[in-house]
Amino acid sequence: MLHVEQTADRCIKCNVCNTVCPVSAVTDLFPGPKYEGPQGQRFRAGIDTGDSPDHSLDYCSGCGLCTQACPEGVMVAEINQVARERLVTARGGLGLRDKLISRPSLMGRLARPVAPLANLMMAARPVRVAVEKAIGVHRAAAMPRFSGTTFRSWARRHRQRGDATRTVAYFHGCAVQEFEPEMGAAVVRVLERNRVRVTFPRQACCGLPLVSNGDFEAGRAAAVRLVGRLRAAADDPGVIVANSTSCGMTLKAKYRELLGMDDAATQAVSKAVYDICEYLLELADEDALDRSFAPLRAKAVYHPPCQLMAHGVGTPALDLLAMVPGLEVERSRAGCCGTAGTYGTKVEKYQIAMDVGAGLFEQVTEARPDFVVCDSETCRWHIAKATGLPVYHPVQVLDRAYQV
């Protein structure tokens, strides 16, 4: 396998990547993936010593649409991610803001004992203005709600059903653990409904926010820790499901591509990871999915996150949602909602994230759905904030259709 930087040599300068970049479409601060990626790559000799003139690099949101569009196999977004790490290192590491937003579980843990108060405070405009001025998190950016209880405390109390015919390990990640325990409960209910027993191996942050912000060293430490904790589950039960498309993508591919982790343990864990909808659709393919969904008379817009498309499995959620009678689903035409993880929370990038998402928000406004469906948590928060509509994970919709 080629190192991501070597794939730059495959570039034939066709500009296809520039036609899909959602960031360069809305701002002159980022010149586009071709210029920044395979072309800029040749001029990065001075990047380690801080001599690179390449400051626009930081405006790449890392959505990865360029890599998916490239017909020649250039890993455009990954080239930029690797270069960003060198830029960040040359600058002496991440600033305070990026250090904080790269550690969602730390923030969640700190706020947990005072979650209602923390949520009140984060909803208060003067507080958000102060936070923006102090560390540079945009005052209007969508923030998750802190949870007073964790997912794991729910899981400990949860009684397994006795009729399981197979078992999976569940990688719930930081978002379910700290912010959306009800999302994790829906995953467990839907799996158990299909006679799948769920185990909860000890876990931790996958490190993606650190990697995408450019701190590969801390990201690698998180990755090594998580691989160590999930290694046994990769053998038994052999399947690890994840409902966060970005964490799932990181476990599947980014440890290898960006952090250069190619050891046997990482490979075993990577190969065992399934996106939850990918797994449920495989059950359906084996006729092992309970299709007795109750009708949901509703209209939804489904937005497949950019990071889901980096799994290479298409849009399994669309096939699953099509099994719910009465549910009308319109597919989003947008490649990216704009927020791309932590990108859209930054004061200097918030407006870009909103402009990138404008097409999606417009489509939602025109379609007038009852709700929006999206697999990735940061996208859900961003879309909910921008459209004022409830935004659910596809599994939450299935869970509802099972319960009606």
């Binding site: 036609t19 599947k252 290479g312 669309l318």
Partner: protein, 414 residues
């Protein structure tokens, strides 16, 4: 994963085949290594532009003179005619009306001022050049030289003069490509500010040639609107990639696929197939960490020739079909791949998979290799889409034939 029909490839042939099959009632999934030829082409529908080194004026009539193994002869003239008709309806419904018919070729203006023969032209490129022609570039756009285009046109007997129109102030002052300019021109207000300068540059002209950048988000409305504002017919000239007319078409195809419920995945190439006897049962494609297996009843390969990566050229002169390992006739050694002139004819360009009358790949014996695999578009042997100017026509004719062959059997009314 599972689908009735898996289509591999998202160029003109793959997209048309996927849509036509879905319209016929099959459940379809598209897998592609990336975006395809729509982004690189001239943005018109070529049927047959050149034959035996001569320009073709009447493509349908010329089809009869093609060799028997040419895709048009295999798919049939009716499939070509039907494919072009279908495309014209599809494009018009998407707001991308085309002009022309397969009875006679038309001229498409290119950035080099060449009048290339083509069959169907998007309306913004369809106006025939006559009288005094102004070739106008938008200031700062580097992919179009009005002088070069005008010199070419004069050589072709057109009374053309170069000119330049200023751009109103906008967000992409530092650097821009055709995409940024086309997106700006999508905006009503930007067009209002652009029109007066363009009208001044075009003063006294009967027709104005501009680079093909007049809007990219939707249909041809920005072109029609700007033409109204300027008061002179505007003709879009084909430019270097990315092709804006191709992007409009690609977006229209994607919208249609979404509306028909066709799932697609780009960025991950198909790697191989699984077989049971003479049938392919699944396609294996790259995934983020594992090979992704998509089970299917039928497989359509629309992966293109060597340039599209459907066929790989090996150092020893042999050729490999990359997905199913289908037989491809190679060369004694690799020096035989290419001709002498860069823009001339290259034997490698005509390399492809031989198929029977039902577009199934055949072995040297002439017998089908697989009962449920069809090949469409540039992957097919027996033609060189670039040299003969037949890419989109072959794509549409073979897509049409495939949709006929794979249409679900109608269930008798009870």
């Amino acid at each position: 994963m599972r689908a009735d029909v898996v289509v591999v490839g998202a160029g003109p042939a793959g997209l048309a085949t996927a849509v036509r099959l879905a319209e016929a009632g099959r459940q379809v999934r598209v897998i592609a290594r990336g975006n395809g030829f729509t982004h690189w082409g001239a943005g018109a529908v070529d049927a047959l532009g050149r034959l035996g080194g001569e320009r073709v004026e009447r493509p349908l009539e010329a089809v009869g003179r093609l060799a028997e193994d040419h895709p048009y002869r295999l798919a049939g003239e009716a499939a070509l005619r039907d494919g072009l008709d279908w495309f014209a309806r599809f494009a018009a419904t998407a707001g991308l009306a085309h002009a022309g018919d397969p009875e006679r070729n038309r001229d498409q203006v290119t950035a080099l001022g060449v009048l290339r023969p083509t069959c169907l032209l998007p309306e913004p490129a369809a106006q025939v050049l006559g009288g005094r022609v102004a070739v106008v570039n938008f200031e700062g756009f580097r992919d179009f030289s009005p002088a070069l285009c005008a010199v070419g046109l004069r050589g072709a007997g057109v009374d053309a003069v170069p000119a330049s129109a200023p751009l109103p102030p906008w967000d992409h002052a530092r650097y821009f490509s055709a995409v940024e300019l086309a997106r700006a021109i999508d905006d009503d207000d930007f067009r209002r500010r652009l029109a007066p300068g363009l009208a001044r540059a075009a003063a006294g002209a009967d027709v104005v040639v501009v680079p093909a950048v007049l809007g990219v988000r939707g249909g041809h409305e920005p072109w029609a609107d700007l033409q109204r504002l300027v008061g002179t017919p505007l003709v879009e000239a084909a430019t270097a990639p990315p092709s804006i007319p191709g992007l409009r078409l690609f977006a229209a195809y994607r919208r249609r696929l979404d509306a028909l419920g066709v799932g697609w995945q780009f960025g991950f190439p198909a790697l191989g197939v699984e077989r049971d006897g003479d049938r392919v049962t699944a396609v294996r494609s790259e995934g983020a960490s594992r090979v992704v297996v998509t089970h299917c009843q039928e497989l359509v390969l629309a992966t293109g020739g060597v340039a599209g990566h459907g066929i790989e050229a090996n150092r020893d002169g042999t050729l490999t079909e990359v997905v199913a390992g289908l037989p491809v006739e190679g060369f004694p050694d690799r020096t035989a791949f290419l001709g002498d002139r860069f823009l001339g004819e290259h034997p490698l360009g005509a390399a492809g998979v031989r198929v029977d009358a039902e577009l199934r790949p055949v072995a040297a014996s002439g017998d089908p290799v697989h009962a449920n695999v069809r090949c469409v578009g540039g992957l097919l042997a027996g033609h060189d889409p670039t040299v003969e100017g037949s890419r989109e026509g072959v794509a549409l004719a073979t897509a049409t034939r495939t949709a006929e062959l794979l249409a679900p059997t109608p269930t008798p009314a009870t």
